[in-house]
Symmetry: C2
Subunit: 244 residues, 2 copies
């Protein structure tokens, strides 16, 4: 009885953005665990047990997944986007560290198209130069750390991908982030609001940072603050390859 | 006669990491353009014209691709990894900006699994917290800009993905980058050297930064400098979800 655990990325929404590697893992799975909306993206079939769970249950879900794999099941933990970017892979390794007897299990992380890559592709090429990714959720880190990173990222002239910019339980942070970047002299920057990328509800909007309003982002939005050189061409934006 | 241009990411090497969206674009193409080793990854077939070209020919290649699409061809420009991350998408938009008469063309950017996501997945979850990506090539930007960004990224405690760390024509920059990070007090950090990820030659090695040597990286290596919290668990490394 040899089980396995794959931590897989479903990409941003479009089935055509799920890698064949992930599709094969889903086809071979006996059990799927994940946040309910992501589990709902896996087509049900005879013999496949779906274990949807709530947001903020990451560590419990990771432990459950390891236990099922130890029992001989073929388990896939699904994340949206890439499982290693603000998603389930870290939680699984955290659970694994707490349970050394499971460290011999067959574990694989299967990469996926993370939101910023899909958003960038549909907007043009805003990440064509050096960039960073910051999770704006302060559930697991102090807001002061987020502010410090935004400040340093602005000083470095990185393009900045902002994950989880705004949710019902965190309505204010994104506005503070915009204010900080404005105060840092970044009002001229182009900011991309990419909502529900690669789904039928996709909407991409680009404005100057000084014109950006907090309510332009919600839970399904990925925000990219362009670097100083980012330019418009036609309906696209892009970061030139040369930098000073 | 309506042509099209797709700028597509082939992922890090494994066919199972090419998205169905990209596979469909390749299947519908009449012409493939790209750096020769990437074009060589596209299976030849009757009626498909392959246009391999040299490194550093990006802008010429982009212009050629636009012209072919304007002539009614179905053109795919291929990049390794993701086309928007230090790859061809920026060059195409640069060429497009110089040629406004082509701005009505049907252009799409098709995302791919960029090297840092594949490297991270096979190493564990080093990008599970805030991170940045820096291209160490100083062909198109001054080395002083790279040093400044490394310094600020270190101060921000980002995990740092280093693309193009070292090549025959740029043998010294990576050693200077390691020295800078050491001097910034980062000697204790774990550094991942991920070579030829997802190919049969894949090799992943993790050492403390103070023990990292420049010759551990070459053209096919993606380097990830972990954040302060990055930890080993079994054969894996991961960035915990919590941060101070």
């Amino acid at each position: 009885m040899t089980g396995s655990l794959s931590i897989a990325g479903l990409g941003p929404g479009d089935q055509a953005l799920i890698t064949p590697e992930v599709s094969a893992a889903l086809a071979a799975a006996t059990d799927i665990l994940g946040y309910a909306p992501y589990v709902a993206r896996v087509p049900p079939r005879e013999g496949l047990v779906l274990h949807p769970s709530d947001n903020r249950m990451e560590l419990q879900r990771a432990t459950d997944a390891l236990r099922l794999a130890a029992e001989g099941r073929h388990v896939v933990v699904v994340s949206s986007g890439d499982p290693g970017v603000f998603a389930m892979a870290s939680a699984v390794f955290e659970a694994l560290e707490a349970a050394p007897h499971w460290q011999g299990l067959a574990i694989r992380v299967l990469p996926g198209i993370t939101a910023m890559l899909a958003a960038a592709a549909h907007a043009g090429a805003p990440l064509g130069h050096d960039f960073c990714a910051i999770n704006l959720s302060d559930n697991l880190k102090p807001w002061s750390t987020i502010e410090k990173r935004l400040q340093l990222a602005a000083e470095a002239d990185f393009a900045i991908a902002l994950y989880n910019p705004r949710s019902a339980s965190r309505p204010d942070g994104f506005g503070r982030a915009l204010a900080l970047l404005n105060d840092a002299g970044h009002g001229d920057r182009l900011v991309i609001f990419a909502r529900a990328v690669s789904t039928p509800e996709e909407r991409i909007e680009t404005v100057r940072l000084r014109d950006a309003r907090p309510d332009m982002a919600d839970m399904r939005t990925l925000v990219i603050v362009g670097n100083a050189a980012m330019r418009r061409v036609g309906r696209w934006v892009y970061a030139p390859r040369h930098a000073r």
